[in-house]
Amino acid sequence: MRGNFGYFEDDRPGSFSAGAIWKRILVRVRPWWKSVLLAVVLSQVVVGAGLAIPWLVKEALDRYITAAGLAPAERISGILRIAVLFCATAATGFAANFFQVVVLERCGQEIMHRLRQDLFARIISLGLPFFDRQPVGRLVTRLTNDIQNMHEMFTSVIVTLFNDILRMAAIVVILAAMNPVLAGILLLALPPLFGLTALFGRTARRLFRDIRATVAALNSFVQECASGMSVIQIFGAEDRVRSRFDELNRDNLVRNLRQIAVFAMFMPVIELFATASTAVVIWRGGSRVLEGMMSIGALAAFLHYIRLFFQPVREMSQKYSIVQSAVASAERIFLLLETTQQEPQGGGRVPRSPAGAVEFREVSFAYDGGPEVLRGFSLKIAPGETVAIVGPTGSGKTTVINLLEGFYRPGRGAILVDGVAVDELDPAWLRRFIGLVSQETLILPASLRENITLGRDIGEAALARVVEQARLGPLLSRMEKGLDTAVGIGGRVLSAGEEQLIALARALAGDPGILILDEATASIDSATESLIEEAIATTLAGRTAIVIAHRLSTVRRADRIVVMEAGRIAESGSHEDLAAAGGRYAAMLEGERLRD
C-alpha cells in the first residue's frame, strides 16, 4: 500500500494565529470561570501552606528551641503548640491540593465534553462531499486524541501558568518598590526572554502541527487496516502494509524527535539566562561593591531575587511544550469546528400536502473534481407511481438518489419534490419523507429493534408489520432474544442478505411517502424477494417508489422502467413496451436469454 494515507496533511488549508486560538479557548473556558477561580484560590492556599511551613519551622527554632531563657517544659509545650499549627497547615495544604485537582479535573472534563459534543455535532452535520475526502480515522483523532491533548494542558498547566505569572509579577513589583534600579536591570532580561519564547513558540507550533498530522495519519492507517484485516491477510499483503506502517511510524518518530531537539534547546537556554545573569551580577555587581558604589546587602538581595524571578520562568518553560502541543491540537479542532462547507441548509420549507411527486429537470452533476456523472437527466415521477431504474453499473443510478436526498447539490438543473426544489426543502423533513434502502447496508451496533426503529417512536403493531413485510421471521427465530438481540460489531454477525432485510424494515418503519430501493435485494434470494414483493405490495399502493435493480424480475412489475446509460435516460416505458421496442432493454432481456 503506497497511496497517500495521510490524504492531505491538513484538514483544509489555512491556520489560525496564536491569538485567535487563545481567544477561542478562553471563550470556552469562560462559562467555567468560577471553577477556574476556585482552583486558582485553592492553589494559592497550597502555595501559602508551602510558604507557611518553613516559617513555622523558623518560628519554632527562634522562639522555643533556641530560647535559652525559657524553662525546658515551656519550650517543649511551645514546640507542641507550633506542631499543632504545623499539622493544621499541612492538612489544609493537602486538602486544598486534593480539591484543586478534583475541581480542575471536573471543569476541564466539562469544558472538553462540551467541545467534543460541539465538534461531533458539527462534523456529523457536514455534507457527504466532506466525508468523501476525509479519512474517518482523522476525524476520530480530532475528537479523541486532540481533545485529550487540550485537556492535558488544561489540568496540568492553566492554573500553574496563572500562578507563575502572578508570582513573576509580584516579584517585579516588590523589587521595584525595594530597589527600582535593580528591578530595571532585571526587567532588561525580559525582552530577549520574550523574544526567544516567541521565536520558539512559532517553531514549536509548526512542529506540533506536523505531529498532529502524522498522528492522524497513523490512526487512520491503523484503523483502515484493522477494518480490512481479513483481505490483507488473504492476499498476503501483510509485509507491504507493515512497511507502509513503518514509514508512517518513522515519520511520526522523526517529527517527535525534532520537537524534542527544539525543546531540549529551549529549556536549557532559559536556564542559561539565569546562570549567565548570576555570573554577570557577581562580576559587575561585586566590583561595584568593592568600589563602594553598592552595599553587599543589595548584592545578596539581588542574587536572591534573580533566583526567585527565574524560578517561575523555568517552570513555565517546562510546561511550554505541553502548551504548544495543545495549541496545535486546538488549532485543528477549531478549524474543523468552523468548517463552513455545510449541508445545504435549505429554506426549511415543507410542501403543504406532500404527495410524493418527483421531478428531475435537466440535471447535470459531477462529483468533486470528477467527470460528469449525470448529463441533462430529466425524469418526472407522478405521486403513487413505481418507477424502476436499470442500467449498467456506474451509469449514475445511485447518484440520482444521492441528489434526490439532497446529499449533493446538482451542478445544473433542478430537482423538485412536490413542486419544491430540494435545495429549499427542510432536509430533516425530506429525509423522513423518503425511505431509503441504500446499496451499502449499514448496521449499527445495537439491538435489532433499535436498528429498525432508529429511535423513532414506532408502535409495536407497526413494528410487527414491518418485521413481517421484510420477512425477518426466519432470522428472528434464530435469535434467542428476538428483536432485543444485539447485532453488529460486538453482537451477532448477520449475513449480507439479513442486513438488507433489516435495512428494508428500517425504511418501511418510517412510513415514507417515497420509498427508494437501491439494489435493496441484491443479496437476497429470489424466493424471499418475491415474498417481500407480495408483502409490500399493499404498502406500495398509492406510494411513490423508485426501484433500482439489476435482476429484471425485480423491476418488471414497475409502472415504468427507465433505462439509464452514462448519466442519461436511454429509454423508458413499461416492461412490455420496452421489450417490444427492440431497444436497449430488449437487448438486456436478450442478453439474459442467451444464457439459456
Binding site: Y7, L128, A428, L454
Partner: protein, 583 residues
C-alpha cells in the same frame, strides 16, 4: 513481584535494551546537571564571602563569574544531552511498541476482531501508548532525579546525625504502603477510563463510517446524544480517577511534612536537652527541606507509572492474543497439486456460542472445476466461503486440501493457495492500481489491465480522472457498488491462485456485464478450483456441481439442470429468474 508485573517489566526491558547506551549517557548527563547545580551556589557563596571579607578583587570576581558561566554552559550542554537522549529513547520505545502492536494485530484473525473493533485498536495504539511513553520519558527522569536527590539528602543526614535520620525516615514505610494502596485503586480506575476512551473512539468511528445511514435516516441528533452519553460516562470515570490521583500526589508531600514535624519535635527536644547544637538542627532541617520536592515527585511519578503500567497491560492483552488459527506445531508441506486441487469439507460443524449451531454436518467436495453454493438468505453460504478462505477457524478433520487436513498446514501457506472475493468488497484508500495489485505487488501494468479487463472494469477505470492511478476514497467511497465489486474481483483474478472462492461476486453488476464476466471467468474455471456462493443462478449453469444449503445444512446437490428439475426451492428461484426472459 507478581508474574504479571514481571512480564511487563520484561517487555519494557526488551524495548529499552537496544537503547541502553543512550539511556546510560542520558542519565550520566542528568546526574552531571544535578552535581553542577549543587556546585554553583557554592561559588556564589564563596564570592559573596570574599566580598564581605574584603579578600576579593576585580580579577577574582571575574574568575568566579567565569566559573559560574562555565558551569552554566556545562549545565546547558548536559541538559540538552539528557533531554535528547532520554526523551528521544522514550519516543523510540513508543515507536517500537506501536510496531509490536501493529505486528500482533496483523497476525490475528476474525475472533479477535469481533471482540476488538478498529476504534479500540486505534485507541490502544495512540492513547494507551501515550501513557506508556510518558512513564518511560518524563516519568523515568523524575524518578531518577528524585531517587538521587533523596539518597544524597539521606546520605548527608546520616553522616550528620543517624538517630534524627532514623526518625525522619520513620514515616516512609507508611508512604510506601499508602502509595501501593492508592496505586491499586488508580489502576482500576484508570483502566476503566481508558476503556471508556476506546469506546468513545469506536463510537465516533462507527458514526462516521455509517454517515450515509445517519444522513438518510436523519439520526444526527440521536447519534450526538448517544455520543454525549458515552462522554458523560467518560467524565464520571475521570472524576473517579481524579479523586485517587488528587490524593496520591499531595499525600507524599504530606508525608514529607510529617517527617519534618517529627524531626522538629525530636530535634527540638534534643536541642533543649543539649544533645544537639542548634546549628546542627538547622542544617539537618535544611536538608529535609531539600527532600520535600523529591518526596512530592514520588507521588507524581507513582501516578505516572501506574498509568503507564495499566496501559501497558491493556496493550499486552493484544500482544498476548494468539490467532485461533495458529501455526500448527509441525506444519505439513503442501500436497502435490499437479493434478489440480480438491477441497473437501467433511462433517463440518460450526457454532457461535453454546447451542447456536450455524453449520451442521457439511459434506462437500470441490474441484477441479466450479462448485456452486445456493441457498436462501442466512443459510450459511458465506460461512462456508469464509471457512474455505480460512477466515473462520474450524476443528481438526473438517477441511482438507488434496487429502491433507487444513489445520496441519500453516495458515499463511493456505492463503497462498486461495484467492477470495468477499461479499462486502473491502477496498483501501489507495490507487486503483494498488487495490488490484494487493496480492501481487510485482505485477506489471499489462497484467493488472488484463485482470481488470477480465472483471470488465478496465474501461471504467480508464474513464476515471487519473486512470489506474486514481486514488479511491476510504472503503472505495468514490465508486459505485458494481465498480467496487469488480475491483475486488479483478484483485482476486490477478492474484492467480489455484483456488478461487467468491461470495456473491456479481450481485451489484448488471446482467450484460455479468455475462461478459462469466464468459471471461469460464477460462479461469477450467483449470482451477472455484467455489462460488451466489443468488444469481446464471453462474451455476457453468458449474460442475451445485449444493443447496438450507439452515446450515446441505439439503441437496446436483447439476444446475438436475436441481432445477428436482428441488422445489431451487426450481422456484430458477423459474423466477427465468421469468426475466419472457417479455
Amino acid at each position: 513481584m507478581n508474574p504479571e508485573t514481571k512480564r511487563r517489566l520484561r517487555l519494557l526491558f526488551s524495548l529499552f535494551r537496544p537503547r541502553l547506551a543512550a539511556l546510560a549517557a542520558g542519565f550520566a548527563a542528568l546526574l552531571a546537571v544535578d552535581a553542577m547545580q549543587l556546585f554553583i551556589p557554592r561559588v556564589i557563596r564563596d564570592a559573596v564571602d570574599g566580598i564581605a571579607a574584603g579578600s576579593a578583587d576585580e580579577q577574582s570576581l571575574f574568575r568566579q563569574g567565569l566559573v559560574i558561566a562555565a558551569l552554566g554552559c556545562g549545565v546547558f550542554v548536559c541538559r540538552y544531552g539528557w533531554r535528547r537522549l532520554i526523551l528521544g529513547a522514550s519516543r523510540q520505545v513508543e515507536r517500537d511498541l506501536r510496531a509490536r502492536i501493529f505486528d500482533a494485530v496483523l497476525g490475528l484473525d476474525a475472533p479477535f476482531f469481533h471482540k476488538n473493533p478498529p476504534g479500540s485498536i486505534v485507541a490502544l495504539a495512540s492513547n494507551d501508548l501515550n501513557a506508556v511513553q510518558m512513564a518511560c520519558g518524563m516519568g523515568l527522569v523524575a524518578l531518577v532525579d528524585a531517587v538521587v536527590m533523596t539518597l544524597a539528602c539521606i546520605g548527608f543526614m546520616l553522616a550528620m546525625h543517624p538517630f534524627l535520620t532514623l526518625i525522619a525516615v520513620a514515616p516512609l514505610p507508611f508512604l510506601a504502603l499508602a502509595t501501593a494502596l492508592l496505586s491499586a485503586r488508580l489502576h482500576h480506575r484508570f483502566a476503566a477510563a481508558q476503556k471508556r476512551f476506546a469506546e468513545l473512539s469506536e463510537f465516533c468511528r462507527q458514526s462516521f463510517a455509517a454517515i450515509r445511514l445517519v444522513k438518510a435516516a436523519g439520526i444526527e441528533a440521536r447519534q450526538t446524544r448517544a455520543f454525549g452519553r458515552i462522554g458523560r460516562s467518560y467524565i464520571r470515570d475521570n472524576l473517579r480517577l481524579a479523586t485517587v490521583q488528587g490524593a496520591l500526589f499531595p499525600f507524599s508531600g504530606l508525608m514529607g511534612n510529617l517527617c519534618l514535624l517529627l524531626v522538629l519535635l525530636a530535634g527540638g527536644r534534643l536541642v533543649i536537652e543539649g544533645a544537639v547544637s542548634v546549628g546542627e538542627l538547622v542544617a539537618f532541617i535544611s536538608y529535609l527541606f531539600m527532600l520535600t520536592w523529591p518526596m512530592m515527585a514520588f507521588g507524581w511519578v507513582a501516578g505516572l507509572f501506574q498509568r503507564g503500567m495499566t496501559s501497558l497491560s491493556r496493550i499486552m492483552k493484544v500482544l498476548d492474543s494468539r490467532p485461533v488459527m495458529a501455526e500448527p506445531s509441525e506444519p505439513l508441506p503442501l500436497p502435490a497439486m499437479d493434478k489440480g486441487v480438491r477441497i473437501e469439507l467433511s462433517g463440518l460443524n460450526l457454532d457461535s456460542g453454546p447451542g447456536r449451531r450455524l453449520l451442521e454436518g457439511i459434506e462437500l467436495s470441490a474441484g477441479p472445476g466450479l462448485l456452486g453454493i445456493a441457498g436462501p438468505t442466512g443459510a450459511g453460504k458465506s460461512l462456508i466461503a469464509a471457512v474455505v478462505a480460512r477466515i473462520l477457524p474450524v476443528a481438526d478433520g473438517c477441511l482438507f486440501i488434496n487429502g491433507v487436513d487444513a489445520n496441519r498446514i500453516s495458515p499463511a501457506a493456505w492463503r497462498g493457495l486461495v484467492a477470495f472475493v468477499p461479499q462486502h468488497s473491502l477496498l483501501f484508500a489507495d490507487t486503483v492500481r494498488a487495490n488490484i495489485a494487493l496480492g501481487r505487488p510485482d505485477a506489471g501494468l499489462a497484467e493488472i489491465e488484463a485482470a481488470a479487463r477480465a472483471a470488465a472494469i478496465h474501461d471504467e477505470i480508464m474513464a476515471m480522472p487519473a486512470g489506474y492511478e486514481t486514488v479511491i476514497g476510504e472503503r472505495g467511497v468514490s465508486l459505485s457498488g458494481g465498480q467496487k465489486q469488480r475491483l475486488a474481483l479483478a484483485r482476486a483474478i490477478l492474484s492467480d491462485k489455484p483456488v478461487l472462492v467468491m461470495d456473491d461476486p456479481l450481485s451489484a453488476v448488471d446482467a450484460a456485464t455479468e455475462q461478459e464476466i462469466i464468459a471471461n471467468l469460464r477460462k479461469i474455471f477450467r483449470n482451477r478450483t472455484c467455489i462460488v456462493a451466489s443468488h444469481r443462478f446464471s453462474l451455476f449453469e457453468e458449474a460442475d456441481r451445485v449444493v443447496v444449503i438450507e439452515r446450515g445444512r446441505v439439503t441437496d446437490r446436483g447439476s444446475h439442470r438436475e436441481l432445477a428439475a428436482r428441488n422445489p426451492w431451487y426450481a422456484m428461484v430458477a423459474a423466477r429468474q427465468a421469468m426475466d426472459l419472457k417479455p
